[in-house]
Each structure stands twice: as structure tokens, then as C-alpha cells.
């Protein structure tokens, strides 16, 4: 639960919005045909496959909803989404598959 005051929350939203715009505008805004140094481009290519798994791993291992206890339904749902996504390369099928496994295992273990 977020317990910040409205003013602080808006400050966070504005900072995130402005920062995101500046990232998107960066090269397009300069428009001098300048491009990133190759080593930086190479690093940036791995941003999604690094940051998103790093974000998800603790949520899977220690879900907040169970008070931080690892739990079979959430673990199997994560594995199902990963497998379906890797095999079909179809994002929506992976989401639906993961949710189905989550609900089935939750129902079985309840």
C-alpha cells in the first residue's frame, strides 16, 4: 500500500513522466544524426532481458500476498508463463496460460 501524501506522489509521477520523455526525445531531439557509442548501444540492448527478470524474481520467490512465503501456485504460474512465452513467442497466450495455472493450482491447494 502506498502511503505518500498527494503532493509527493504527484512529484514522483511528474519526475517519472519528464525523465521518460527526455529518454525518448534524447536522440530524436538532437537530430544531428549523432548516434550512441557502439558499446552503449550493446549494453542498452540487454536492458529489457535484465531489468524485467530482476524485477520479477523476488516477486515470484517471496510473494507479498502470502506474507513472503514461497507458494506452489505462484511458482507454477511463473514457470508456465515462462515456458509458454518462450515456446510460442506469443505474449497474450503466456499471460492467459500463467493465469490459468495460477487459478487451477490455487483451487487445488486451497
Amino acid at each position: 500500500m502506498i502511503t505518500l501524501s498527494d503532493g509527493v506522489l504527484w512529484l514522483v509521477i511528474l519526475a517519472l513522466g519528464l525523465g521518460t520523455f527526455l529518454i525518448r526525445f534524447s536522440f530524436l531531439g538532437l537530430a544531428g544524426g549523432r548516434s550512441l557509442p557502439p558499446w552503449l548501444l550493446r549494453l542498452l540492448r540487454y536492458v529489457p532481458v535484465s531489468i524485467l527478470p530482476a524485477l520479477v524474481a523476488p516477486m515470484v520467490a517471496w510473494p507479498q500476498a502470502t506474507g513472503g512465503e514461497p507458494e506452489p501456485a505462484r511458482l507454477s504460474a511463473a514457470c508456465a508463463a515462462l515456458l509458454i512465452g518462450a515456446l510460442t513467442r506469443h505474449v497474450l497466450s503466456a499471460v492467459i496460460g500463467g493465469l490459468v495455472v495460477l487459478y487451477v493450482v490455487l483451487a487445488l491447494t486451497r
Binding site: M1, I2, D6, L9, L11, V12, I13, A15, L16, L18, T20, F21, I23, R24, F25, F27, L28, G29, L30, G33, R34, L36, W39, L41, R42, L43, L44, R45, Y46, V47, P48, V49, S50, I51, L52, P53, A54, L55, V56, A57, P58, M59, W62, Q64, A65, A73, R74, A78, A81, L82, L83, I84, G85, V91, L92, A94, V95, G98, L99, L102
Partner: protein, 234 residues
């Protein structure tokens, strides 16, 4: 406007962007629901979806705020998730860099994953003029971005009424896994993901919730390293 001068490219963009509705709508709905349940009101939820217009970063920041992380870390982590867009911006510049400032600013604002992926594919495979490229770009934006706002709003309005038995807390990790799984092709991508996950689990106790940034950095370095090692083998 280039859209009125090149209706055929604009409508081609609309058609090419249309299938993304299936991805964008559920994701935006989920954001609306999760944001409301974390304590954001309707205006704040919409403020975030309209000003930031980047789902993964919005979820990441929300998650850290809910964990009472320091504000700077919450914002920096959201921005780190969006760093990939600097790469999009760089690769679109040869195509759209000559457009007027206003058009470039508007294109930057709408630079979401789906719009970038679809546009760059068309720009490198077809011989288009600047006007046609802009028309196509904003064509792809048309079905994607307004629905992002609308579905965030719907999610925020119905959000509070979804009972906890639906375990919606876990829809966010599932969505992220589903987005990343198709990208895990080849040793360098796998190395990046595996190292990032390992470091994230070990570094969870780092102060100020810095574990995510450290893990992301480690994963990126692992990816580049694996790429270089393989390159030398070949």
C-alpha cells in the same frame, strides 16, 4: 500535416498497429486495477498513464512505492526500465530526425515498444519519404495509445471491486514474464536474464531497494560479455 497528405501510409499503420490492442488493453486494465489497489486515486492513476505512457516502468515504480522504497530509487528504477527507449530514439533518428521539432517531440512522447517495433520494421524494409514515415508512425500510434489511456481508466474504476481471491497481485509478474520469455533467444540474452535473476535474489537485502538496479546492471554486463565471448569463438 503528413497524415492528411499520406492517408494510405497512415491507414497501413493503423492496420499494422491494430493487433497490439490485444496486448495493450489487458496490460492497461491491469495497471488501472493495481494502481487503485495500491492507493492511487483515479486522477493519479490517469496522470501516470498519460504522462509516463510506459507500462513496465509504471508497474516497477508502483511496486517500489508500495514497498516504501526511497522516492529517488523508485523513480530511478522506473527510468532504468525505460532506458531501452534511448536505443529506440537513436535508431529512429536517421528516419525521423529531419521532421519539425513539434513532430519529433510528439513522436518521442508516443514512442512505446509496439510503435517502435512496427515502425522500424517498415522504415528499413520500404522506401518511404519523411512524410510517409511520419504518417505511418502516427498510424500505428492511433489504435495503441488512446486505448492505453481508456483501459487504464476502466481498470481504475472497476479495480477496487475485484476480490483478493483472484490473486491479481500475481498478474503483474506473470505479465512481465510473458513479455520477456519470447526475448530469451540465444546465449547472450539467456545469460543476461539468468545473471539478473541470480543477483536480484541475492541482493534483495541491499539498502534502499537498490538490488533491482544492481541486478539489472549485472545482467546487462553479462549479456555483453557473453556476446563478446561468442564473437571471439566464431
Amino acid at each position: 500535416m503528413s497524415i492528411r497528405r499520406h492517408p494510405e501510409e497512415y491507414w497501413r499503420g493503423v492496420r499494422d498497429g491494430a493487433p497490439f490492442v490485444l496486448v495493450v488493453c489487458p496490460f492497461a486494465l491491469l495497471f488501472g486495477v493495481v494502481a487503485t489497489e495500491s492507493g492511487l486515486d483515479l486522477t493519479q492513476t490517469m496522470g501516470m498513464s498519460v504522462l509516463v505512457i510506459a507500462g513496465a516502468a509504471q508497474f516497477a515504480t508502483l511496486q517500489l512505492l508500495a514497498e516504501q522504497a526511497p522516492l529517488v530509487v523508485a523513480v530511478l528504477t522506473g527510468l532504468a526500465v525505460n532506458l531501452r527507449m534511448a536505443m529506440y530514439s537513436a535508431s529512429l533518428t536517421p528516419h525521423l530526425g529531419a521532421a519539425p521539432l513539434g513532430a519529433r517531440a510528439l513522436a518521442a512522447y508516443f514512442m512505446v515498444d509496439q510503435v517502435y517495433a512496427m515502425s522500424i520494421q517498415r522504415f528499413v524494409t520500404a522506401e518511404l519519404t519523411l512524410g510517409e514515415k511520419l504518417a505511418y508512425y502516427f498510424g500505428v500510434v492511433t489504435p495503441v495509445c488512446p486505448l492505453w489511456y481508456l483501459c487504464s481508466w476502466v481498470g481504475a474504476v472497476v479495480g477496487g471491486r475485484i476480490p483478493p481471491e483472484f490473486a491479481l497481485d500475481f498478474a503483474v509478474p506473470i505479465t512481465f514474464i510473458a513479455m520477456v520469455a519470447p526475448m530469451l533467444r540465444g546465449i547472450p540474452n539467456l545469460a543476461a536474464a539468468v545473471v539478473a535473476v541470480g543477483v536480484a535474489l541475492v541482493a534483495r537485502s541491499l539498502p534502499y531497494n537498490l538490488g533491482l538496479l544492481v541486478a539489472g546492471g549485472a545482467g546487462m554486463c553479462a549479456g555483453v560479455l557473453a556476446e563478446r565471448l561468442r564473437g571471439e569463438d566464431a
